[in-house]
């Protein structure tokens, strides 16, 4: 994964402490991007912790998967196993935290206190794993310049609604896809919903991966990261006002970097 550079950043929303968590890492043989968005509000008072648990759980699962997964004959089974592992790991971290930090008079399902979304991409040389529960976006810019969004938004979810990893039936709302790759994407971008909700025209959001690539080519990776930081601040101050988080993976391979 020598040709890859990653970047993640998060801007705190206007109302509360940041309940988003973002992570981007490149390792010797794989790379991954993960973001999680704690729901906030009175019912989800520990959602910032739930978001951290979600990222921690998925990071461990991605690392394990990247080392051990080889059998492409049973993709459906692998996807199902990943789903179960993600939910089980998050619930384990969460209930352990709750047992150590109980709220004696709380009557609702303790998992709900920690409600969060979770989006992630694991990239290897010949495949990619894409996972999502809840709102937010995963976009990939392919070599032919097509933008791919792996999971479309559920049209029944409007306003500020989202599905959540805290739900008892979360596994039904958790999407996992293993995508075989002949050519690696130029750029992968994972964002929390504060980002898309900041754009007046949704098409400008979908053009963001291309903008990032053009900027990297003209200004370099580090300067682009700085400018993206400013863009996240603009989103908070003039856009959705929500926490805004991004994780980006850029493929510096010579054919892309013309």
């Amino acid at each position: 994964m020598n040709n890859f550079r990653v970047f993640s950043d998060s801007a705190k929303g206007i109302m509360h402490e940041n309940q988003d968590v973002g992570l981007a890492k490149v390792k010797a043989n794989h790379a991954y991007l993960i973001v999680s968005d704690g729901h906030g509000g009175k019912d989800y008072i520990r959602s910032h912790i739930g978001a951290k648990h979600a990222v921690l759980a998925l990071e461990a699962i991605f690392n394990d998967f990247a080392s051990n997964y080889k059998n492409f004959d049973s993709i459906n089974h692998a996807e199902q196993t990943l789903k179960e592992k993600i939910i089980t790991s998050w619930r384990k971290l969460t209930i352990d935290h709750y047992i150590n930090n109980p709220l004696p008079s709380y009557e609702i399902d303790p998992y709900k206190l920690y409600g969060a979304t979770l989006l992630g991409v694991l990239l290897k040389d010949d495949y990619m794993v894409v996972i999502q529960i809840g709102d937010g976006n995963i976009l990939a810019l392919l070599e032919n310049e097509d933008i791919v969004q792996y999971f479309k938004k559920d049209k029944k979810l409007v306003g500020n609604e989202t599905t959540s990893i805290c739900e008892i039936n979360a596994i039904k709302d958790l999407h996992v896809k293993i995508v075989k790759l002949n050519v690696l994407p130029i750029l992968i971008m994972v964002t929390t919903d504060g980002v898309i909700n900041s754009f007046t025209d949704i098409n400008d959001f979908y053009s963001l991966p291309k903008e990032v690539v053009m900027e990297i080519k003209s200004l370099g990776f580090n300067k682009t990261c700085q400018n993206f930081r400013q863009l996240l601040n603009d989103m908070v101050n003039k856009g959705s006002g929500d926490d805004c988080t991004v994780a980006i993976l850029y493929n510096f391979s010579p054919t892309n970097f013309k």
């Binding site: 409007v158 007046t200 400008d204 400018n227 400013q230 959705s240």
Partner: protein, 233 residues
């Protein structure tokens, strides 16, 4: 374009529809309609101020009135900074069902902004509907945006059938506001125009939850000085 320019030119607050549904039937004639006109006029500056400090929601106002028929008193989505109140007059029957049916028609998915916040629908009425309001309400609830709208109701005086307002609100956590005089009506109208709007714009809900109040109800001024705005309706 570049990321810096994108932040300047392509980012904006999320649209939030705020719709008044006002009963202008004959029973509102006189003191009540005068109080309603006064209260909304009074609330406009507070609403504009709240909108200014809530930079992450672009509040758009519309006003639907109903009596024997419905009328869009303000039909276009009007930015709150441009919102001006012109008085409404009261006469005729109280066909709430007709108004709700009309309201349902604007809550279609394709007519609502995709990144919009849940619309806020505020019903103000003083009596029992003279038609089958459930037909219109069912239509609203059949729409995704209708189901997720934040619905509030203010009952003017003591003649209102409370169950109608509870049905409209559709959320046991939210009671109808009962007002007995013009002063209380003004306070509640200001309250829903400011605090509720701010709250709606930032609370996130899971797919199965209804909107929850994230603020305290205002304490009504119960003093009754010698002033006609404190006279009971």
């Amino acid at each position: 374009m570049g990321l810096r320019k994108l932040g300047v030119e392509k980012i904006s607050a999320r649209p939030l529809e705020f719709i008044w549904i006002l009963d202008v039937s004959g029973s509102m004639h006189g003191e009540r309609i005068a109080a309603l006109n006064y209260a909304i006029k009074e609330a406009v500056p507070a609403m504009q101020e709240a909108a200014q400090s809530n930079v992450n929601a672009e509040i758009m106002v519309r006003v639907l009135t109903f009596s024997t028929d419905f009328t869009w008193h303000i039909s276009e989505r009007t930015p709150v900074k441009d919102f001006e109140w012109s008085d409404v007059r009261a006469e005729g029957l109280s066909n709430l069902g007709l108004a709700l049916t009309e309201l349902a028609s604007i809550l279609d998915e394709e007519k609502m902004p995709e990144r919009g916040l849940p619309p806020v629908l505020v019903l103000i009425t003083d009596g029992e509907p003279t038609d089958d309001y459930k037909v219109g309400l069912d239509l609203i609830m059949s729409k995704v945006w209708g189901k997720k709208s934040v619905r509030l109701a203010i009952s003017v005086g003591n003649d209102v059938e409370k169950t109608v307002l509870e049905d409209f609100i559709g959320n046991k956590d939210i009671e109808p506001f009962e007002v007995e005089n013009a002063s209380q009506l003004t306070q509640y109208i200001k309250f829903v125009s400011t605090k509720v709007l701010s709250s709606v714009s930032l609370v996130k809900s899971d797919a199965h939850s209804l909107f929850k109040f994230d603020f305290e109800l205002p304490e009504l001024d119960d003093e009754s000085p010698n002033n006609d705005v404190y006279d009971k309706f």
